[in-house]
Symmetry: C2
Subunit: 342 residues, 2 copies
DNA sequence: CTTTAGCACTCGAACGATAAGAGTGCTAAC
DNA sequence: GTTAGCACTCTTATCGTTCGAGTGCTAAAG
């Protein structure tokens, strides 16, 4: 038995209904509320029975309505993505309101974006800062912060990539540091991080008086991608609006995923192409989030610099609203960060 | 009818029990589990009746046990604070484990501290970065980040106070900026922020070629305390361990307070003296947190620089554990930030 | 062959009554 | 002042019943 046009229509109606109500939906509801060419409930019933057999619907128990399966949502979002992902103007406005202040640090922009998305969608939003892959170094500066410590500033095409505190020998004056900075800038400007690493090793042989400092610089550069602590989350409490998380233990499990950096990153990982990555239920790959869905996408600034934005919520997510919001936001964010950029 | 020694003992026993179980505690429980000189349940009953009259106990309904009132907790913590607030060595060890990595940025330290406190106490922890009041400037540096932007680094007694991105005129080369930095350092070193503000105004008249830059520096310094975005929260999901928040709506309300910067700050506000600030139930001053308690305290680095650490949980909080943890952590944090300092 | 009306059947949710248990308050005895 | 005993209260759990939503099937109509 194949999937035909009418079955699809009915399935979509069921999904729409379930997304709004979170209640198993019955044949009568569909034949009344949604107009599927005036079919009677009995006909719908037959179709629903077929849809169940096809794996698109589940029945919590015999005498309840049906609820969409993960597979159904898959089909649903597939359909959605075929259509327009444009955001209606009024929603766009609501999003933009969050960005009316003057240009600020990347962190702030990221945080505002997360806040904005979560406010508009009523789900929990996650935004990561843009991460440079092959960014080139522009400027290196060591700033003294105490007798024995200096701050390393690495300015790249994109702004400040890294600001780490280094321990340095007592004997170095601010002027020394400036000299070293100047030298490093001359030597490293235009290089990628990888190239810079090698170069530093070579330099440190030549200038062995500053060997110790250079070694710490090297160490800092090496770790430079390990500590991008720039994931912002907005609307954590939104999760608790949905009945699927009215059980405290379930809610706790999901919330705690959000608190675990690694898991969160894994969850949000988006395909680097411009399209959406949608994970439904078990597809999230974590038991804690097996009744969640995650919609994420990358945004690009420049050629090789991308960040991720995403939303997490129950599997019966309002995909049709979330997708345009993310789509719009990814563009807005790219723009904001490109020229507002640090 | 006065409060005597025995009544107090009984009350404390009731509180201890309720803190652990979250269930109304009856007279029998007290006379059996806790040994109050082998008094019978009937005697305890009489005393409990008195305690209720005195406002220390509430009765959810006639045939249930009693639960401690806010007033009871008040007395309880008052007693606690009279005693030692030292942390047992094994707990101290558990806390210290979170800090085994090399020295890092203030943000990291703050975040780790929040994480550590929440892990050990099983409550939600909040830590704010140390805020300088009359800190003195040590070093000023402008670092070019693009043609038209520079990063202002203001190194103070305490480390980096402020890192703001400034828009600067196109014409300024890195060398120009360095020159300005040097000049500013010479002029401003040793000053407080307030003094620096005035001074900058005077300078900008003298060096009117760099007027524009100086004006932006001034603006940045003026806003320097407005944007301390450095509040870290650890263990948000811990809240959901407690039955008082098994109702999703209650949990949501509290969680959302944590997401609202202003409210969070208000909640954590601690008396600047070294002692603990404890807010119980309504004392938190917010309807959302009327069944929460907040224990907070300031930690000091140097004479005039303080941050706040605190814990939020149900009113039946394990104050006796929380207080030593905070006490210990405030000292550890001061130490870490003082010499590990950025 | 498709659609629909009709009807029996299923199963959870809601309700009410009942029983069990925890805890109190009071009284009377120690 | 303390305690044993007991009646009383009130909640929680349990069980059976009812109610209703929804299904599946069948047979008739289109």
């Amino acid at each position: 038995m194949p999937m035909d046009e009418r079955k699809t229509r009915i399935l979509m109606a069921i999904i729409d209904d379930y997304i709004m109500t979170a209640m198993p939906v019955g044949s009568r509801t569909i034949s009344k509320k949604h107009d599927i060419g005036g079919l009677s409930s009995a006909t719908i019933r037959n179709e629903m029975s077929d849809l169940e057999e096809l794996g698109y619907l589940d029945q919590p128990h015999t005498s309840a309505g049906r609820i969409p399966s993960a597979r159904a949502y898959r089909l649903y979002v597939e359909n959605l993505l075929r259509g327009s992902t444009e955001l209606p103007p009024d929603e766009a406005m609501r999003l933009r309101v969050h960005f009316d202040r003057r240009a600020r640090q990347v962190e702030d922009v990221i945080q505002s974006a997360a806040q904005a998305i979560s406010d508009v969608t009523r789900y929990t939003a996650v935004v990561t800062a843009p991460k440079a892959q092959h960014v080139r170094i522009r400027y290196v500066q060591l700033v003294p912060v105490s007798e024995t410590a200096a701050l390393l500033i690495l300015v790249t095409d994109l702004g400040i990539l890294k600001d780490a505190v280094l321990r340095v020998d007592g004997g170095l004056t601010p002027d020394h540091l400036h000299e070293i900075s100047k030298m490093l800038t001359e030597q490293l400007a235009g290089m990628t991080l990888d190239e810079a690493r090698e170069k530093i090793i070579r330099i440190s042989e030549a200038f062995h008086e500053h060997r110790a400092v250079l070694r710490t610089v090297l160490a800092a550069v090496e770790h430079s991608d390990a500590d991008h602590k720039d994931i912002m989350i907005g609307g954590r409490s939104n999760l608790l609006h949905y009945p699927e998380y009215s059980d405290a233990e379930k809610a706790r499990a999901v919330l705690s995923v959000l608190e675990t950096r690694d898991k969160l990153i894994r969850l949000m990982q988006a395909a680097p192409k411009m399209a959406f990555t949608i994970r439904i239920g078990d597809e999230t790959g974590m038991p804690e989030t097996s009744d969640c869905s995650v919609v994420s996408m990358t945004y690009r600034i420049g050629d090789d610099t991308t960040g991720t934005i995403g939303v997490i919520g129950p599997t019966r997510m309002q995909y049709a609203r979330v997708i345009p919001v993310l789509d719009y936001m990814s563009k807005a964010l790219a723009e904001l960060l490109r020229d507002g950029g640090t």
